[in-house]
C-alpha cells in the first residue's frame, strides 16, 4: 500500500498541503465545501499558543515542531486476527469494530446480529451511501471556529466510523471500537467519527485506543460527533491505555435533545500527551448528563481533560466527577466549564475534580469554571488536591496492612469512585484490573 506522504512542518504549511491534497480526500461537493471552510477556520486560529486560554496548560506547539506525514490511506502493515485479539476486552466480543488509523477493517471487525436498520460503516463510503444522514448531522456539532483541532480534522480527515441507530431501537450488546494506531514514521492521524442515535434508541459504545508496532511517535487528532435524539440513552466509554508513543487530541462533541441521557467515562491510564475535549451541548429540556473521568499519570506524561457542559435549555441536570493520580514528572490538567444560558432555569449542575500527587515532581493544574446567566439554578463545583489521608493510612497499618498495600488500597478506593458509574460489568472488571496493575508499579 502506498500511503500518501506529505511532509509538514508548522501550522502555516497546512494551507499548501490542503491545496494539493483535498481533492484526493473522500467526500462529495458538500463535504469538500466543509473541508474548505474548515481549513480557513484552522488557518485563522493556527496551532494554539500560550495566549489561547483554552490551551494555557497544554501547549500543542511542541507536537508540531517536527515533520509529520499525514496519514490519508490505510497503512500497508498487516495485522493478524490473533494480534488484534490482544486488544479485546474479555466478555465483549459480539460487536467488535477494528479501525486501523481510523480506517475500518472489515476483516478484523465482527459485528453480529445487529438489529435491523442499525448501520455500522466507515465514514468515507457513508458520505455517499448515507448521504441524507450525513447531510443532516456531519460537521453540524463540532464547530470549526471553536477549536483549531476540530477545524484541522474537519479539513483533512481521511476516514473514520459511522454508526446509525434508528428510532425505537435498542442495541443490547455493547459495541467495542478498537482504534489501532500503527506507523513507522512520524504521522498525523485524523480519524473522524459520527454516531447518530435516533429517537428513543439506546446504545453502549466502548472505545479504546491502542498502539500496534508503533516504532515512532505519532499525533492522533480525533473528532467524534454524537447526536443524541429525544428519549434516547447513550453510554459512551473511552479507554486510553496502551498509547505511550501517542500524542492525542481527542474531541468528543455531543448534542442532546429532549429527555435524553448521555453517560460517559474517560479513563486514561497511559499516553504521552493527551488532550481530551468533551463538549456537550444540551439543547432541550429534561436531559441528564453524567461525565466521569479518571487518569493515572506517570513519567513525563501530560494528561488534560477539558469538559464543557453547555446548558441551553431549562430543567436539566449534569454531574461531573474527575479524578487524577499523578506520579513521576507527570502533569495533569482538569478544566471543566459549566455554562448555563439565559433562561435555562432549573438547572442542577455539579462538578468535582479531585487529585492526588504522589511525587515531588508532578504538577496538577485545575480550572473548574462556572458561567451562569440564569438565576434559578443550582450549580456548584469543587476541586481538591492533596495526599492520602494519614489517619486512614495509620488505621490500615494498625490493622496489619503494610504501608504499600495500605497505600494501594486507599489509592484504589480514591480512583474507583470515578469508574463505579460504569454500567457494563465486564468493562468495569477489565478497567479494575488495569488500575490495580498500574498501582502496583
Amino acid at each position: 500500500m502506498n500511503a500518501t506522504v506529505e511532509k509538514i512542518k508548522t501550522g502555516d504549511k497546512f494551507a499548501e498541503l490542503f491545496d494539493r491534497l483535498h481533492t484526493q480526500l473522500p467526500g462529495n461537493a458538500s463535504i469538500q465545501s466543509i473541508r474548505k471552510n474548515a481549513i480557513a477556520a484552522f488557518l485563522k486560529q493556527g496551532i494554539p499558543t500560550r495566549k489561547n486560554e483554552e490551551y494555557k496548560y497544554s501547549l500543542p506547539e511542541k507536537l508540531f515542531k517536527t515533520n509529520y506525514s499525514l496519514a490519508t490511506k490505510l497503512p500497508s502493515l498487516q495485522i493478524t486476527a490473533d494480534d488484534s485479539k490482544t486488544f479485546d476486552i474479555s466478555g465483549i466480543t459480539q460487536n467488535k469494530i477494528v479501525l486501523i488509523n481510523g480506517f475500518y477493517s472489515q476483516q478484523l471487525s465482527s459485528v453480529n446480529n445487529l438489529t435491523k436498520g442499525v448501520i455500522v460503516s466507515d465514514i468515507s463510503t457513508s458520505f455517499e451511501k448515507h448521504a441524507a444522514h450525513i447531510e443532516k448531522h456531519f460537521a453540524k456539532y463540532a464547530n470549526v471556529d471553536a477549536d483549531p483541532f476540530i477545524a484541522l480534522n474537519s479539513a483533512l480527515n481521511a476516514n473514520g466510523l459511522f454508526i446509525f441507530v434508528p428510532e425505537n431501537t435498542v442495541v443490547e450488546q455493547p459495541i467495542h471500537i478498537i482504534n489501532i494506531i500503527t506507523a513507522n514514521e512520524l504521522s498525523l492521524i485524523q480519524p473522524r467519527n459520527l454516531f447518530i442515535i435516533e429517537k428513543n434508541a439506546e446504545i453502549k459504545i466502548i472505545e479504546s485506543l491502542d498502539a500496534y508496532k508503533l516504532s515512532t511517535n505519532v499525533v492522533v487528532n480525533m473528532v467524534t460527533e454524537i447526536s443524541v435524539a429525544e428519549q434516547s440513552k447513550v453510554q459512551y466509554y473511552k479507554l486510553q491505555n496502551d498509547c505511550e508513543k501517542i500524542a492525542q487530541i481527542n474531541t468528543t462533541q455531543v448534542y442532546q435533545l429532549e429527555n435524553s441521557h448521555f453517560d460517559t467515562n474517560t479513563v486514561t491510564l497511559n499516553g504521552d500527551w493527551v488532550r481530551n475535549n468533551l463538549n456537550i451541548v444540551v439543547d432541550a429540556e429534561n436531559c441528564e448528563t453524567h461525565l466521569n473521568g479518571l487518569f493515572i499519570s506517570k513519567n513525563n506524561q501530560h494528561i488534560d481533560n477539558h469538559t464543557l457542559v453547555d446548558h441551553q435549555k431549562p430543567n436539566c441536570q449534569s454531574n461531573q466527577l474527575y479524578k487524577g493520580v499523578l506520579s513521576g514528572k507527570s502533569t495533569g490538567v482538569f478544566n471543566g466549564k459549566i455554562y448555563v444560558r439565559r433562561d435555562a432555569q432549573k438547572i442542577n449542575a455539579y462538578q468535582s475534580s479531585k487529585n492526588i500527587l504522589l511525587s515531588d515532581d508532578a504538577t496538577i493544574n485545575t480550572k473548574p469554571e462556572l458561567e451562569i446567566y440564569a438565576d434559578d439554578v443550582k450549580c456548584s463545583h469543587g476541586s481538591s488536591t492533596g495526599q492520602l489521608n494519614e489517619d486512614a493510612l495509620f488505621y490500615l497499618r494498625a490493622r496489619g496492612l503494610s504501608t504499600d498495600s495500605a497505600k494501594r488500597m486507599l489509592l484504589y478506593a480514591f480512583a474507583s469512585d470515578a469508574i463505579n458509574t460504569i454500567r457494563i460489568d465486564v468493562l468495569k472488571e477489565h478497567i479494575d484490573k488495569l488500575i490495580e496493575k498500574q498501582l502496583i508499579q
Binding site: 469554571e369 462556572l370 446567566y373 440564569a374 438565576d375 463545583h381 481538591s384 488536591t385 492533596g386
Partner: protein
C-alpha cells in the same frame, strides 16, 4: 416572583448619592500622554531626577504593551489614552500649615463624604479614631494625625511627600512588589502616577489607629493614577482602610491605581477597601473604569497580609489583590464582596502564590449580581515546588438576582508540591423564595428582607472589616441592591 422582579426593575439604579462635583480650582496637565506630559507631572511635583527617570522608563515600556482586552470577562470600547488628562491637582493657594487654611470647598467635599477632617482632628487621641489621607484627583490634599503617628516612628504621608522626605524607602520598595513591567496598567501608573499614600511602620510597632485614605475623582476628563505603598517592618502591625467615590459624569473615567504592600518578618498588614466609585447610570452611561493592581508580599517568615474588599461601585472593576507568600509560615487572606447592578461589570479575585514552607491562604469571595450586570470571580492559587505543607481553602459563592444578570467563576489552581492541600468550592444560587417568604411573613418587606439576607450572605467578609467600615458597608450593600431580587 414576577412582583419582586417588577420591584427590582423599578428600583434598580437607585441614585448614586456621592455624585456631586466640587468647585475647586484645579491645575491640569494638557490632554494626552507623552514624555512631555510626564516631565510636566514630575516638574509640578518637584521630583528628583531618579523619579523622573523611573517614570520615563515605565512610559517607554508601556508604549510596547498592548491594552489587555481579551482574558478578563469585561467588555468596553477601546480607551483613547490620548483623550485623558493625566494630572489634575486642586490648585494650592499657598502652603498649608493647618486645617484652617484648607480650601473651604474641599472641606465641604469631605463633609459630604462623611469624613470631616476637622472632626478627625478634634477626635485626636480618641480610641476609635482614624488617621486619614485624602486624595482628590490623584493628589493628596491633607493627611491627619501625622504628629501622633510620628511619635511612634510611623510615617504616614502622601506619596509625593515620601519621595521628597524618605527617598531611600521609596527607592527601595517602590516597584518591588508591582514592577512597572507587571502589566499594562501598572506601567501606565508608574509613568503618570500623581500621588497616593505612603506608610511605613517601624520594627515592633503596632499602629495604634486605623490608617485611611479617601480617594475622590473630581475633575472632568481626568484619570486617577495613585500609588500606595505600605511597609510593615519586622513585627509591625497596621490596618489600612481605603474608600473611593467620584462625581456623576456621562463619560467614563479611568482609575488605574497601584497598591504595594511589604510585610517583613512577623509583621501583619490588613488592607480594607470600600470601593464605591460612580458606577454609571442604569443605562450604563458613564462610570469609572477601575483597573487596579494590588499586591502584597509576605517577605519575612510568619508574616501576614489580609485583603478585604467591598466592591459596589465602578462601571468596570478589574482587580486582583494578591499575596506572594514568600516567607515560611506566612499567611495570605482575601475576603471579598462584589456587588454589580444595572450594566456594571466586575472581574475580580485574587492570586495566592505559595513559595515558602507551611504557608497558608484563605479566599472567601461573595459575588452578587443584579440587573443586567456581569460579575466574575477570577482567582489563582499557585503552589510552587518546594512550598511544603502549603494549604489553601477557597470558597466562591455567587448570588444571582433576576434573570438578566450573569455570575461566573474562573478559578485557576496550579500545584507543584505533593504535600499541598488545596480545596476550592464554589456555588451559585439565588435568594431563596422561602427565605423571603419567611421574612415577609414576619412582617419584613421584600426590599428590607433582601438587604438582610444579602448582609447575612456576606457576613463572613463583612466581619473582617474594621467596625467603622462594616457599618458603612452594610448600608452600601443595601443601597446598591435596592429592590433587586432573585
Amino acid at each position: 416572583m414576577s412582583d419582586t422582579n417588577q420591584l427590582l426593575e423599578e428600583i434598580t439604579g437607585s441614585e448614586y448619592k456621592y455624585g456631586w462635583t466640587t468647585n475647586i480650582d484645579t491645575e491640569t496637565a494638557p490632554k494626552g500622554i507623552n514624555a512631555e506630559v510626564i516631565r510636566f507631572i514630575s516638574q509640578k511635583k518637584n521630583e528628583p531626577t531618579w523619579m523622573l527617570e523611573l517614570r520615563l522608563k515605565a512610559f517607554r515600556h508601556w508604549l510596547t504593551l498592548e491594552e489587555p482586552r481579551h482574558w478578563a470577562k469585561i467588555q468596553y470600547p477601546a480607551i483613547n489614552f490620548n483623550d485623558i488628562i493625566y494630572f489634575a491637582a486642586p490648585k494650592p493657594k499657598k502652603q498649608l500649615k493647618n486645617l484652617n487654611e484648607v480650601d473651604p470647598e474641599l472641606l465641604k467635599t469631605f463633609e459630604k463624604l462623611g469624613i470631616s477632617l476637622e472632626e478627625q482632628k478634634r477626635l485626636s487621641g480618641v480610641e476609635s479614631s482614624i488617621a486619614v489621607d485624602a486624595v482628590i484627583d490623584s493628589v493628596s490634599v491633607k493627611t491627619t494625625f501625622k504628629e501622633v503617628l510620628a511619635e511612634k516612628g510611623i510615617i504616614f504621608c502622601s506619596f509625593s511627600e515620601a519621595v521628597q522626605e524618605h527617598p531611600e524607602l521609596v527607592k527601595e520598595y517602590m516597584g518591588s512588589v508591582v514592577p512597572y513591567t507587571d502589566n499594562f496598567y501598572a506601567a501606565l501608573n508608574a509613568a503618570v502616577f500623581s500621588d497616593g499614600s505612603f506608610c511605613y511602620v517601624p520594627k515592633g510597632v503596632r499602629c495604634p489607629m486605623e490608617l485611611s485614605t479617601y480617594f475622590r475623582i473630581n475633575s472632568a476628563g481626568t484619570g486617577q493614577f495613585e500609588r500606595t505603598l505600605i511597609i510593615a517592618d519586622e513585627g509591625a502591625y497596621v490596618s489600612y482602610l481605603e474608600g473611593c467615590t467620584a462625581p456623576k459624569r456621562d463619560e467614563n473615567q479611568l482609575h488605574a491605581a497601584v497598591v504595594e504592600i511589604v510585610a517583613h518578618k512577623n509583621a501583619e498588614v490588613k488592607y480594607s477597601t470600600v470601593q464605591n466609585w460612580y458606577p454609571g447610570d442604569k443605562d450604563g452611561k458613564g462610570g469609572i473604569y477601575n483597573f487596579v493592581t494590588k499586591r502584597g508580599i509576605c517577605i519575612g517568615n510568619n508574616s501576614k497580609i489580609s485583603w478585604t474588599q467591598v466592591e459596589t461601585g465602578s462601571a468596570i472593576t478589574w482587580k486582583y489583590p494578591s499575596v506572594i507568600l514568600k516567607g515560611d509560615n506566612s499567611i495570605g487572606e482575601f475576603y471579598s464582596v462584589a456587588v454589580t447592578n444595572n450594566l456594571q461589570q466586575a472581574d475580580t479575585g485574587t492570586k495566592m502564590t505559595h513559595i515558602g514552607k507551611n504557608t497558608r491562604s484563605t479566599i472567601v469571595s461573595k459575588g452578587i449580581s443584579a440587573g443586567k450586570s456581569n460579575n466574575s470571580y477570577r482567582g489563582l492559587v499557585r503552589i510552587n515546588k518546594g512550598a511544603h505543607n502549603a494549604r489553601n481553602f477557597s470558597q466562591c459563592d455567587s448570588l444571582l438576582m433576576g434573570d438578566k444578570c450573569g455570575a461566573h467563576t474562573f478559578p485557576y489552581i496550579e500545584i507543584k508540591d505533593k504535600s499541598a492541600i488545596v480545596e476550592h468550592e464554589a456555588t451559585t444560587s439565588k435568594i431563596g423564595e422561602d427565605q423571603l417568604f419567611y421574612c415577609n411573613q414576619r412582617g419584613i418587606e421584600t426590599e428590607k428582607a433582601i438587604g438582610l439576607i444579602v448582609n447575612g450572605y456576606c457576613k463572613e467578609v463583612l466581619n473582617q472589616l474594621p467596625m467603622e467600615f462594616a457599618v458603612e458597608s452594610q448600608k452600601l450593600l443595601a443601597v446598591s441592591l435596592e429592590g433587586s431580587v432573585g
